[in-house]
Symmetry: C2
Subunit: 384 residues, 2 copies
């Protein structure tokens, strides 16, 4: 028997072609393409298809995929009626797990996977498109339903990021904002075998419907040790209150050996490549807005500057969560929805891993180190 | 880096005190107590508390626990209203995953776990009781709601097994049936680190609400490689049609190297100890019923006899699924609800493992063997 390693740290749990991290050099690639190039030149739709199929699509393939995504944005009114029974206080991640699990009832899978026929590509592709398309719809619907309003119907003339912001806010986003959302979706789409992606493999390995698999992954992402850091960055910036207070705040936290939210990442010894990209977008955004800038950006900049001076030599830099929260806030998205947006983006990576798992499935059944009692006899309750 | 073993077969993923299997000798114990003794002398309620606390409870502790279970059988009418929006064709496992996930919205957790304070026993015990109590309620409610009827209110004067059958069928079960259900719940409550229990550890390790964790496990159990075998046993027996056809059926299947449902278990080289117990109950039941016996039992007996002659030397015997399906059928439970009943029983083991994980939590983040493309440059769509 192998050695027991808590959390399976360092234990390979799958072979995968999808993404790769080089933590020493600060590199992240999807299917071999550096994340910087995808963020600059690709779109969420194209990156999604790349991740699923393993190659950059032709124009015809991309158009077909994008059209199918647009067609599947609508959901049955039954889903809306279901969501209206949720309490308005329901957290968006609990809502999302519930609604995605319910899709298995409303859209029953036509074809159950079997061990011999797990790699049914047409079926897998079809389910994948339907789930990715509906993730954005459901998250945006909840924003209206929880406030007592009917949701806004999706529009087929907008791309994924534009349509999501349109459905969320009820108005078309400006082009820079829509592009920033598009890049945020690309950056969050995949990150090798993290806890939620691993739960896709474990749950998927018994061959349930993909709705059940993605619902499991949403539950895993909902834990505070996984999703939710960008929400905490935002609270931290509000707590700091103004740029000139950043230095004292950071130093106080460091003296108490407390965490600065949005700083450092266990995978990267250098700067998180996704943070580098987001930082450039923040620059671009701030230049475009000029004096209309939200003060939180100025505070964030000040915090990052202090952290760089204090922590860069330890390999601790701003990570992907540091700026995304403020950007989402700027797009009119409330903080409790941030992890749900993460889930929309990550559904792409989850489903790419699900497809990969189906191509060579083996049920997960690790062992345990039994540390309990040896065999003993039952004792009647009278003499315990 | 450790060796890559598909499905993590043989890789220890946790240390656990809860249950132990000796596959060579055909032994299963919960907290050291042989399953045979628990099936004969304990109850589902007592076994549950044993599994959670690690020791057989005093009478006072058991009474308190049982009263709390009984009090928590009721659910808000909001849950009923939610379930009425589900399509009547919704599979009970999809229904159960959806409904349990929704509990996180209706009963928001008062106290979120943190890495430093994951082992908050009062909170964990409270959530555990609430979930176990409501699992039976939800499964029974759906049986009525999906047929267009209001569910039956739980009764606090019945034990778990009795109340479940009462809520399911609308009438009190006879004492032998209630006892058989009680034993079935004990037998299915726990079985070390199978796929669904492993998904509890993986999802739970990010510290989401236990509703999200159990919803993930329900999704994992819903896959045909995990739950559902007893449903297939029932179909098989119906296909065979009469006891005298059993021999020819089995021989034909074996000649084609096809699976006989309900026979053999990867963990046991000898007879599944749970099947031995169920077989005795079937005997008892058949004697009590005399000539009123369902013909499926006679067919099952004939199949088992042929299989014993043909397969016993290979260590293939009837497993826990072989008789449970016919017994559930005899209790008036439709076949598509069998896995949901498995989930009710197993919620006990899932939550015991969740509690154990919380006492020494580490987020699951295994690694991958990257087998994909090396770094390459993005190619514009025009020249692909």
């Amino acid at each position: 028997m192998s050695e027991y390693l808590p959390g399976l740290a360092g234990v390979p749990a799958t072979k995968s072609n999808i993404s790769d991290i080089n933590g020493e050099k600060g590199l992240l690639s999807y299917r071999g393409y550096p994340i910087e190039q995808l963020a600059e030149k690709s779109t969420f739709e194209e990156t999604t298809l790349l991740m699923l199929d393993g190659k950059l699509p032709t124009r015809a393939a991309l158009t077909e995929f994008d059209s199918k995504l647009r067609r599947n944005r609508r959901t049955q009114y039954h889903i809306r009626d279901l969501m209206k029974t949720f309490p308005p206080s329901g957290h968006p991640m609990d809502m999302l797990q519930t609604a995605v699990a319910s899709l298995g009832m409303f859209y029953p899978v036509q074809q159950h996977l079997t061990q011999k026929n797990a790699e049914n590509l047409d079926y897998i592709h079809d389910m994948t498109v339907k789930i990715i398309a509906r993730m954005g719809t459901i998250v945006a619907m909840w924003e209206h339903i929880r406030h007592g309003y009917d949701p806004i119907e999706p529009r087929a003339d907008l791309n994924y990021a534009q349509n999501f912001l349109y459905m969320f806010n009820g108005k078309e986003p400006d082009p820079l904002m829509a592009r920033i959302m598009d890049v945020c979706l690309i950056l969050h789409a995949e990150h090798t075998i993290n806890a939620s992606t691993f739960s896709v493999l474990v749950t998927g390995s018994t061959l349930p419907s993909p709705y059940s698999v993605i619902a499991a992954a949403i539950g895993t992402l909902s834990g505070p040790l996984h999703g939710g850091a960008n929400e905490k960055v935002l609270s931290m910036l509000r707590e700091i209150g103004s740029p000139e207070k950043a230095e004292a705040y950071v130093d106080k936290k460091l003296a108490k050996k407390e965490k600065i939210w949005g700083m450092g990442h266990r995978e990267y010894k250098t700067k998180d490549p996704r943070a580098v990209i987001l930082e450039k977008l923040v620059d671009e955004y701030m230049k475009a807005r000029g004096s209309n800038i939200n003060p939180l950006f100025e505070i964030a900049r000040a915090v990052e500057k202090v952290c760089e001076a204090r922590l860069a030599h330890k390999g601790v830099y701003a990570n992907v969560d540091f700026y995304s929260g403020i950007l989402y806030h700027e797009m009119g998205i409330p903080a409790d929805q941030f992890t749900a947006i993460f889930a929309i983006a990550r559904s792409t990576g989850w489903l790419a891993h699900w497809r990969e798992q189906m191509a060579d499935n083996r049920i997960f059944r690790p062992t345990q180190v039994y540390t309990g009692e040896p065999p003993r006899n039952y004792v009647p309750i009278e003499i315990r």
